[in-house]
Structure formats: structure tokens, C-alpha cells
Symmetry: C2
Subunit: 450 residues, 2 copies
């Protein structure tokens, strides 16, 4: 009940001692392939630096008394055992985690804070002699960033049962033209080299991906809450300690190609043209309008890529390739905008007498946070006396895909300097980080016991 | 009078014997820096291949009994002396010519046909014992194509008194980062190495350009008529032998840059954006509209270049650079479109809250053909029994700039295969070329004598 919640949470709060996070943030930042440290961290999945970071994480998990296991793709789990070893018909683990891989020349906190924070939260709970009912897990997801293979959140997609192993194997490796994902995983000690606790194996990419699955829904995690820097300016701007995330926006990405006949800019008369830039431009203007008129500020649509050929001043454009990103926290609303864009592309193509090709690059479902995950985080922050608000996550995270395997996910944000991320001056203070970790600790304690 | 015109033209026609042009077209095509001959001709101004072509041309001029001189930039003149050595207050030379330089991987006929055709026309007139009154000159212009220094028609611009020597010297050489135009001209034997017939010199770029000037208007050429392949499909399509050009369209080129703040495509809400692609797109749509509604089919406007940064699907565009080409045969009408475009760029920038920069890259005046030049060509074609029509030249040629120094210019077009040009399969037949050359010969004869 609420009264007993308050009692044990207050007791727990008085016993929690959060160790500094910054030393570990700095230590991990050294495992980087950037030529110039000052220019930021680079750590691609399965690279030498990534393996060094993994070793550090596993060691830290052990130091904090967590039992370590790894899945076939390389996601790492540090468990604080609960008394209730299994729960009939439902998830018996409460998880929290993030990623340590880093896009080229980026910051030290993105993802790393959530991995270190989860480990420290569990370590602090253990030191406070907290006995979980459901197991608690700190997780380092295999890779969240798409830098090496073009696939973001590879590990969590597999856990959510939405990773196509065949497609995974076709993705080119930017580090090595002849390596497939499965090859790279195997070279790193996962893939076909991986052995499960019961000596299970993953001999193919398909088996590897299947091994990682946490499906069906709610069979493993009762709840999953990711701790992350906001990557936006709101919390800092409003002087708040904690953001309780209500929903995670997800992108739909399309590539739309218009093709005309081209021609000499001086010689081709206007009424004979089928100019690809004019077609692309008409669509780009419409894309902005559709997003602006969706009925919600949470809908965003961007023509981020607009590539023209031959792109010469004296040539009527022969082709224009538009790369369009549409995001929202509401699936139906987002997909309505996608439909409007496709429909307009066809209409414009007809009017301008160009050929059009629409290619859906990617389409992920947004996720809504679970009520009990959100309530637990809000209660935790209150108990700690931290200021908070509910907010949307406009970037996506591994939790978006965990939501496919768990109906009770959430995220906890902390402020970061000017909202900067994916750049070397990304920063959150020790104090800001501590507040996030202790909020996570109490949140997980509540979720473990409810 | 008309009757005596007809008499001597008929006599001349019966005596004219045009030698085959194709062997010389083929010979010149061998002077090329293209790696693969099948991929087309490449011949940049002042290059080794260009010097070889010049030697061939000078030799051919001499073989045809023409007196050769070169100006300080390297335009080459082969003269058939007239009896009237000078004309009070007016031009005493009738010229015809074109260029032999070739953009990378292009055809064998563009420009080359006009140079060879002019030499052959004069040679045939000489062999027919035609005595010109005004001098006749076959001209090879220094360079018409902009491939090496980014400056088209360098020689004829100097002749027309519209070449800025200071600007010329700032242009980068694509072949050699440290060479200026004057350096390259000098290395080729022109520039400071050039000696005039009276031992004049050109010690600086400024002197070089001044030496080439044919100003003031009508002080040198009484008329100038350039022979050229159509580079369009009309004559072939309508089964006509000869096009008599009424006007040459000229381009105005602008570079318009829109700049916004950029941002993360997922995180930046629509009402806070200043997206450079949306701004550029609104302008591109307007550019087409302005050209279409100018009141004439001869107005064309093209956003040929549309370059976006960072051009990544998950980034709100930070900048969009548009390169716009506007052409017309009517100066006022064309410049009205240019004004509309600039005005709209500023309006769009204000609406979209982006910064805008407008840079005029280039602006040349269109030219109208001289009445007597056109009549002479039409009369010549009639006499020869060739089918003809009046038409516009939508690409520009050296004659556009000669029009600054001569008020009686013209052009004669012949059909070319499917209108193809600037590509290796560019082609006109020996028969088509012969008809053009004999038309030019009778045209020049008439202009020389009237
Ligand atoms: Mn990231
Ligand atoms: Mn992240
Ligand atoms: Mn050309
Ligand atoms: Mn030409």
C-alpha cells in the first residue's frame, strides 16, 4: 500500500549512498578511436575500444556484487538477485540500462551515464541491504548507435523481436568491406563464439538474434526504466532535476526520388521540362505543412536530405533524392503524415511529369511509458525532494524497442549543459547525475517490490 | 543592287568547290587529353592538345592562302585580303569563326566545325577567284569553353571590351593551382611572349586584354557570322538545311544562399525552425513560375544547383545554396525575371526567418542579329537551293561578345544528330556540313561586297 511504500522508501532513502559517477565517465571516455581526444569520443560496436569498455563495465558490475551474463549479440546484464525467483505469468525482472557505444567525435555521457547509473543504483541498493523481490538488472545494450552497420539499437531490437537477421547480414560494415554483422560479433567473442549459461550456441545470425529475444511481451521484464541525459535544453532551462518521460517519439524514414529527363538549361523550353528539383521542392514545402498542421506540436517532419543530379547551374535537374524523417509520439498521427507525404509525392510527380520512387527506409513504433513505471519514478523523485516534470523523449533510445517486450517501460532524464549532445562539450554535473541515480535506485526498488 | 547581287552570287555559286570537312574534323579530334578516345574529346585552353590544334589550324589557314596573325591572348586570324584596305568610319573586315577548345569528353563538331568551315569557305572563295572588297577573316577564338579557368569566351570577351583583366587573374586554374590565366597564356607562347606585327608587346594581363580589343563598336568588323552546329533538334526534326539565327540568348547566373540554425530533426519543434531547404524550395518553385509567365517561350529559368548542408536525414538543413540560370533573347524581360527572383528570395527569407545572400555570378547581354547579316545568309541559302528558317540560338557563342564590337552579327546553324552536343556522339554529316560552308561562303561574299 501507499503507506508501506512511503515507509520503506524513506528508510531506503536514508541508507542510500551514491558513489561518484564522474570518475567512471572519464575512464570510459579514454576507450576511444578518435585521433584527437579533445575532439570527442568515438567507439564503434565490436571495435577494440568497445571491447575495452565492455571489460570495464563487466568489472564494475562484479565489483558492485552483480552476477554477470552476456547474450549472443553482446548485451551485458548485471543482476542483483531477488527473492521471488519466478513470477507466474509475468516478468520477474526489473531492468535499467543504456549503451556505451559512441558515434564519432561525440560526448562522454550519452548512454554511458545510463549504464554506469544503473550499475551504481544497484550497487547502492545492495550496500543499503535492500532485498529485491523481483530481480534487478543493470544492462549495457549491445549497440545503440548506427555508426558501424547503419542499424541503431541492434541489441534491443533483437530483444524486442523486431530485428530481421537476414537484413542485418546485408548491412555494410564501414570499418571493413568484407565483414558482416555476424562476423564482427564473432570476432568480438559473441556470435558463433558465444556460449550460454546452459552451453547454448548461436551458429548463425538468425540463431544469434533469436537467442537475444525477450518475447513474448512481459515474459522477462516486469518493468524497464532507462536513465539518460535529456539531450535537450528544457530541464536546465526550467531548473528542474528530473524529467519523467511519458512517451518516446519514433521516426519513420522515407527516401523519395524524382526523376526527369534533364536537359540543357538554356535550350530546353519551360513547357517541355520535367525538372526534378521543382518536383522535390513542391514536396518539401508540403512536408513542412503537413507536420505543422497535424494538430500536435509533437509531430515533426524534415526533408533532411535533398540531393540533386547533375547539380550543375546549366543543367535542368535530372534527379532529386529526398530523405524525409517524420516523428511523433502517436503512431496513427505520424503515419497519417507519412501517407500524406507519399500521396503528395505521387500527385506532384504526375503534375510535373517526372517519375517517382518511394522507399520506406525505416519505420519504428513510438512507445508510451507504463503507468506504474512513471508513478514509481515520480514517487522516487518526490521522496528525494527533487524537482520534476513529465516530458516527451524526442530522440529514441533502446527503451523504444524494449517496449515491444515489456508493457511497463519508462525513462528518467537529467539536465545536460545547454541540451548539447553528440558533441564533445556534452556535459552533466556530478550533482545532476547523482540525483538521477538515486531517483533510479528508488524507482527500481519500488518496481521490484510492487 | 539586287540584280547584280544575284548575278555575281550565281556565278560564284557555280565556281565554288567545297572540300570535305570530315577529314579535318577527325584530325583535330585526335588532339585530346581524354584517356579513352571513345569517351569523347577533351581539349582545354593552352594545353598541349590545344597547342597542337592551333598548329593544325594555322597550317590549314596557310594552305588555303590566308595570311595568319594571332592576338595577345591567342585568337588566330586567317585573312583573305580585300581591295578596299580601309573604310572611312566603319569596319572593313567581314569575319567568321568559332572555337576549337572542347569541354571534357565532348564531341568533335562543337566549335571546330565553325573554324574549319570558315577556313574552307575562304579557301573556296579564293580558289573560285573571288575578290573581296572588305577583307575576309577566318577566326579561331582563343577559348569558348570555361573548363580551365571558369571563364567562357575569354578571347571574344576581350575583343568586345568586356573582359575584366583583374578578375581574369583571380580565376583558379583547374590544371594547376599556382597558374594564373596570364601565366598559362605566356607558357603557351602568348601573353608576355607574344609579339605583334609591329612588335607590340603585352607585359601584363591588362595589356594583353587591351591588345585584343576590337572596340569601339564597328571599327573593325563590318559584319561577323559564326557557323555552328545547332546543338538542338529543330533543323533535323523539320528536315531543314540551314538555320538563320535572329538572336542569341544570354544567361544571367545567380547564387542564392539560405542559412538557418539547423538542429536535430527529432528534437526541434516545427514552430521553432528556420529550415534552409524549405526556404530554397519555395524559391525554386517560384523561379519556374516566373519563367513560365514572362510572356515569351524564349524565357527560361533553372535552379540547376541545389546544395544542402549537412544533407543528413536526421538534421534540419542548415544551409541551401541555389545556383540559378536565367536566359532570354530580350535583356529587359530576362532582367525582370532576375529581379523577381531576388525579390522573392528576400521575401521567403523573411517568412522562413533564415538569412539570405544573393551573389550575381555573371550577367551577359543577349544579342540581336544584324539585318544585313541575316539577309545575306538567307539570300545565300536561297541561291544554293537550301531549305532554311529563322531561329533563336539558345546557347551562347563567341558571337554574343563580338556583338559588343560589331552591330551586324549573325549565325548560321546546320542540323546535328538528334540535337546532341557536348557528348561523344555529337554528329553532323559531310553533306550537312558542306551546305553550311557554302552558305557561309556566299554570305561572306555578299557582306564583303555590299
Ligand atoms: Mn546517441
Ligand atoms: Mn543514447
Ligand atoms: Mn560548347
Ligand atoms: Mn560552341
Amino acid at each position: 500500500g501507499k503507506e508501506s511504500d512511503n515507509k520503506y522508501l524513506s528508510e531506503l532513502r536514508s541508507k542510500l549512498q551514491i558513489e561518484p559517477i564522474t570518475p567512471h565517465i572519464d575512464a570510459l571516455s579514454k576507450f576511444s578511436s578518435s585521433e584527437d581526444e579533445l575532439k570527442g569520443v568515438t567507439r564503434l560496436v565490436y571495435s577494440k575500444e568497445d571491447l575495452e569498455a565492455r571489460a570495464y563495465v563487466k568489472n564494475l558490475m562484479k565489483k558492485n556484487g552483480l552476477k554477470v551474463r552476456e547474450d549472443a549479440m553482446g548485451s551485458i546484464f548485471g543482476r542483483l538477485e531477488g527473492v521471488e525467483k519466478s513470477q507466474k505469468g509475468g516478468g520477474h525482472v526489473v531492468g535499467s540500462g543504456s549503451h556505451t557505444d559512441a558515434i564519432p567525435l561525440s560526448g562522454k555521457y550519452d548512454g554511458v551515464y545510463g549504464v554506469l547509473g544503473a550499475i551504481e543504483a544497484l550497487g547502492a541498493l545492495k550496500r543499503a541491504k535492500f532485498q529485491p523481490r523481483r530481480h534487478l538488472e543493470a544492462v549495457m545494450f549491445n549497440s545503440e548507435e548506427p555508426s558501424r552497420f547503419g542499424m541503431a539499437c541492434s541489441g534491443s531490437r533483437a530483444m524486442g523481436g523486431v530485428l530481421d537477421a537476414e537484413k542485418l547480414e546485408t548491412l555494410p560494415d564501414v570499418l571493413n568491406a568484407s565483414t558482416s554483422f555476424f562476423d564482427a560479433a564473432t570476432q568480438a567473442g559473441y556470435g558463433s563464439k558465444w556460449r550460454g549459461e546452459k552451453n547454448e550456441r548461436a551458429r548463425t545470425a538468425k540463431e544469434m538474434v533469436e537467442q537475444c529475444s525477450l518475447m513474448p511481451m512481459d515474459s522477462h521484464y516486469y518493468s524497464f526504466v532507462e536513465l539518460h541525459i535529456e539531450q535537450g535544453p528544457e530541464l536546465e532551462h526550467e531548473n528542474l532535476d528530473i524529467g519523467v518521460v511519458t512517451a518516446i517519439a519514433a521516426p519513420a524514414a522515407l527516401e523519395i526520388t524524382f526523376e526527369g529527363d534533364g536537359g540543357h538549361a538554356g535550350a530546353q523550353l519551360m513547357h517541355l521540362r520535367n525538372d526534378a528539383v521543382v518536383a522535390g521542392s513542391k514536396l518539401a514545402v508540403a512536408v513542412e505543412e503537413f507536420a505543422k498542421h497535424s494538430g500536435s506540436v509533437d509531430t515533426v517532419a524534415t526533408v533532411g536530405g535533398f540531393t540533386v543530379k547533375p547539380n550543375a547551374i546549366n543543367s535542368v535537374p535530372r534527379s532529386a533524392v529526398l530523405e524525409i524523417d517524420v516523428r511523433d509520439i502517436d503512431l496513427k498521427r505520424r503515419d497519417l503524415v507519412v501517407e500524406q507525404i507519399i500521396s503528395t509525392a505521387n500527385k506532384v510527380a504526375s503534375e510535373q511529369r517526372v517519375r517517382v520512387n518511394v522507399r520506406m527506409i525505416n519505420k519504428d513504433d513510438p512507445a508510451t511509458s507504463g503507468d506504474s513505471a512513471m508513478s514509481a519514478a515520480e514517487l522516487a523523485a518526490s521522496h528525494l525532494g527533487h524537482t520534476q516534470k513529465r516530458m516527451v523523449s524526442r530522440a529514441y533510445h533502446d527503451t523504444l524497442f524494449i517496449a515491444k517486450a515489456c508493457s511497463n517501460v519508462g525513462m528518467i532524464f537529467i539536465p545536460c549543459f545547454k541540451g548539447y549532445s553528440h558533441r564533445p562539450d556534452e556535459h552533466s554535473t556530478e550533482d545532476q547525475m547523482r540525483k538521477g541515480v538515486e531517483t533510479l535506485a528508488l524507482t527500481m526498488a519500488k518496481l521490484s517490490r510492487e
